[in-house]
């Protein structure tokens, strides 16, 4: 790193201080550090450290998510500068995520959204009670590559299938990796409704998403 402010930004993300992270990222930009360098040298190592601390059992969910939120806060400042330079941060994929229509359970889906975002995905979280058309409008708008759906109620689970059907009708199914989750959702259910992936928890969701993105990239015909 070699830059005191960069080290401070690193520390702010590792310790999960969003406001500090945002301010420090702005200061680094003002000092003239190139945005890509801020991301690569100060921020990415920080979020990797957060992930490592979680894996080794030192960090629990709150620290993990606060780290991810601090990362997002800093990104919000740096990304416009990046675009200003005509450069683009490499993202693993663009995710549209939400809890399906009729279901107001937010927390599990939000954890997954945060984790995906911290792990290099561009995430659009539509919140709860999201209808098929809301999902698909956003997919079109941001040209999403991943659609994530959550449900906590056995009665709202079937709506996931409806969204998948609507994606097919709209001709969007093939561009999408569709992931489903939520306490009552099982791998068998995911398969039955024609989803591409399922995970038990947020860490698993990140793994599955990365895996499926890599698989899909491998399947693309080379030009």
């Amino acid at each position: 790193m070699g830059n005191r402010k960069c080290e401070e930004l690193y520390k702010a993300i590792v310790e999960g201080y969003s406001e500090d992270a945002e301010a420090l990222a702005r200061q680094l930009l003002d000092e003239g550090m190139p945005p890509m360098q801020i991301i690569d040298e100060c921020m990415v190592p920080a979020i990797q450290e957060v992930g490592r601390l979680y894996e080794t059992g030192e960090y629990f969910l709150p620290e993990l998510m606060m780290g991810a939120e601090a990362m997002q806060a800093a990104l919000k400042v740096v990304q416009p500068a990046l675009r200003g330079e005509g450069a683009q941060r490499q993202v693993l994929g663009t995710v549209v995520i939400g809890t399906v229509a009729g279901d107001l359970h937010d927390i599990g889906k939000s954890i997954v959204a945060t984790m995906l975002s911290a792990n290099g995905f561009d995430v659009y979280d539509l919140g709860v009670d999201v209808s098929a058309s809301q999902f698909l409008d956003k997919v079109r708008e941001v040209n999403a590559t991943i659609l994530g759906m959550s449900a906590l109620l056995p009665t709202t689970m079937p709506y996931m299938q409806r969204v998948i059907e609507s994606a097919k009708e709209a001709g969007l199914r093939d561009q999408l990796i569709i992931l489903v989750g939520g306490a009552p959702v099982t791998p068998a259910f995911a398969e039955k409704i024609g989803a591409d992936g399922y995970a038990d928890d947020a860490a698993g969701a990140v793994q599955v998403a990365k895996q499926l993105v890599a698989q899909k990239a491998g399947q693309q015909p080379t030009r």
């Binding site: 709150p62 107001l104 937010d106 927390i107 599990g108 209808s131 056995p154 306490a183 009552p184 099982t186």
Partner: protein, 497 residues
């Protein structure tokens, strides 16, 4: 008949000043922040009443202390939940303790040791099995069958459980129409819908979302149930540390504000509707994000909420599923701590007390029997013992010669006393090693398996509470209800487009 409704409040985690502080925090929350209710008829009803302020932009209703107190005055602290015969009636007050089965597991651990999706036959069999548990008071569906369509599933649950239990049935509904269908089904047994209204043999539960949110169907079902005088479990399922603040006290505040808003709604519709303050809250496991029903902090939340609910003059339902996956040591300790603590804290309904494991996703046949054993032992502890001239036994000691006497085993006093005093175990093995080994060296799980098979075989020979004709009529109403439910959902989706 087994004991019904023991009074055993002995544990208190909150003192009077804690309770007052909680009371004012709840009033502040309800009157200044309010509760989100996405159901227009409910908001319109609130808007008509002095003491409620409706924010139409955000669908939030703020409830004054005065309006809350008025509702608490009409919400009864004594009422009866009716069984199919008087023997199964449950007299509810703020002191008696009852147990409940439930709820909504997706998988079963069957008697052959298989972990698989639950089917409707499991629901029937487990309801029959549970109906033979002497310590069970209220029947709730233990599984959601995978071979039943999700839309209108509660009607199939109703038809299956209601016809297979003598006990008051703890039901749920997605719509007002579903409540009416359930009234119709109960009326087949009770003779008329008027009779159901007078002595309802089932109840409804509504589950709120934290923080401070009532889904449209929650309000719809509260209002329709109240119209029919169907008692309501107004339940909040908070996840302490995630959907409510991490301190237990903060979770108690959110839970109470959330539940009480539902109680006020029920009382506005029909003053006097029995309302039970209910929770199935748990802490979030900070490592994995999982709901933990078996955690000690979860049990503390439930024990303390019992006190707070009683402070507001409402009966309380607590208790929840445990985290173990097998009927093992973890299952035993989680269940025992949870049941005993809730009992001693005066939780009036100990919910999910039978067979519920894996964060409420798994129901075990064997664990149902083991839990009956644990509940029996816990009730024995909770019952305590009497101290009086007879039990002090000084006269007996003297009569038998004091220091010159031998033993009391063969005394008439002993024989008469122990029969009513001692808890007689069913599955617990108290033999020494050699004898236990000679009898097959069986684990408690094996004993439970054998007993479950025996009870189920016997249960299949017994008459059901309803006649075959009544069962057929109930099933017909159920199927027609499911058809209507699908139509309602279809229309709702049309209107969403």
């Amino acid at each position: 008949m087994p004991r019904r409704g023991l009074r055993c409040q002995r544990l208190k985690f909150l003192d009077e000043s804690d309770l007052k502080a909680l009371y004012f925090a709840v009033i502040e929350t309800l009157s200044e922040m309010g509760v989100k209710m996405d159901y227009r008829p409910a908001l319109e009803l609130f808007a008509d009443h002095h003491g409620a302020v409706v924010d139409w932009d955000n669908h939030v209703v703020k409830i004054s202390e005065g309006l809350l107190r008025k509702a608490l005055q009409t919400a009864p602290s004594f009422f009866t939940l009716y069984g199919k015969t008087e023997d199964y009636d449950v007299k509810v007050d703020l002191e008696r303790v009852y147990t409940m089965s439930g709820s909504c597991a997706l998988h079963v651990l069957d008697l052959d040791g298989n972990h698989r999706l639950a089917v409707r036959e499991d629901l029937r069999l487990m309801t029959r099995l549970l109906d033979h548990m002497p310590n069970l008071d209220i029947m709730h569906q233990i599984v959601i069958p995978s071979d039943v369509d999700e839309i209108g599933y509660e009607l199939v649950n109703f038809a299956t459980c209601y016809t297979n239990t003598w006990r008051n049935f703890y039901s749920q509904a997605q719509t007002a129409e579903s409540v009416r269908d359930q009234v119709r089904m109960a009326a087949v047994f009770q003779g008329s819908t008027e009779e159901v209204k007078r002595k309802p043999t089932f109840t409804e539960v509504v589950c709120m979302i934290s923080p401070l949110k009532h889904e449209p169907q929650n309000s719809e079902v509260i209002m329709e149930s109240a119209r029919w005088n169907i008692p309501l479990y107004i339940e909040v399922d908070s996840l302490c540390g995630a959907t409510t603040p991490a301190p237990i006290a903060g979770t108690l505040v959110e839970q109470a504000a959330n539940v009480l808003a539902g109680v006020v709604l029920a009382q506005l519709v029909n003053p006097g509707t029995p309302c039970i303050f209910a929770i199935a809250s748990g802490i979030i496991d900070m490592r994995t994000g999982a709901y933990s029903g078996g955690a000690p902090e979860t049990t503390l939340i439930h024990a303390a909420t019992a006190q707070l609910a009683h402070y507001f003059g409402l009966p309380f339902q607590g208790g929840t599923g445990i985290d173990a996956k097998l009927p093992d040591a973890q299952a035993g300790y989680e269940r025992a701590l949870q049941v005993l603590t809730n009992m001693l804290s005066g939780t009036n309904f100990i919910h999910l007390a039978y067979g519920m494991m894996e964060q409420m996703l798994l129901a075990s046949y064997e664990q149902c029997l083991i839990d009956e054993e644990i509940i029996g032992a816990c009730f024995r502890i909770a019952r305590g013992f009497e101290v009086n001239d007879f039990t002090l036994s000084v006269d007996l000691l003297r009569k038998e010669g004091g220091p010159l006497g031998k033993h009391f085993l063969t005394k008439r006093e002993t024989r008469e006393f122990y029969r009513q005093d001692r808890w007689i175990p069913t599955l617990t093995n108290r033999d020494p090693w050699d004898k236990w080994e000679a009898a097959g060296a069986k684990s408690m799980r094996q004993y439970a398996n054998e007993l479950a098979r025996k009870i189920l075989a016997q249960a299949e020979q017994e008459p059901l509470p309803v006649t075959p004709e009544q069962a057929a009529e109930i099933e017909a109403i159920c199927q027609e209800g499911v058809r209507k439910a699908k139509e309602i959902i279809r229309q709702r989706e049309e209107s969403r487009k």
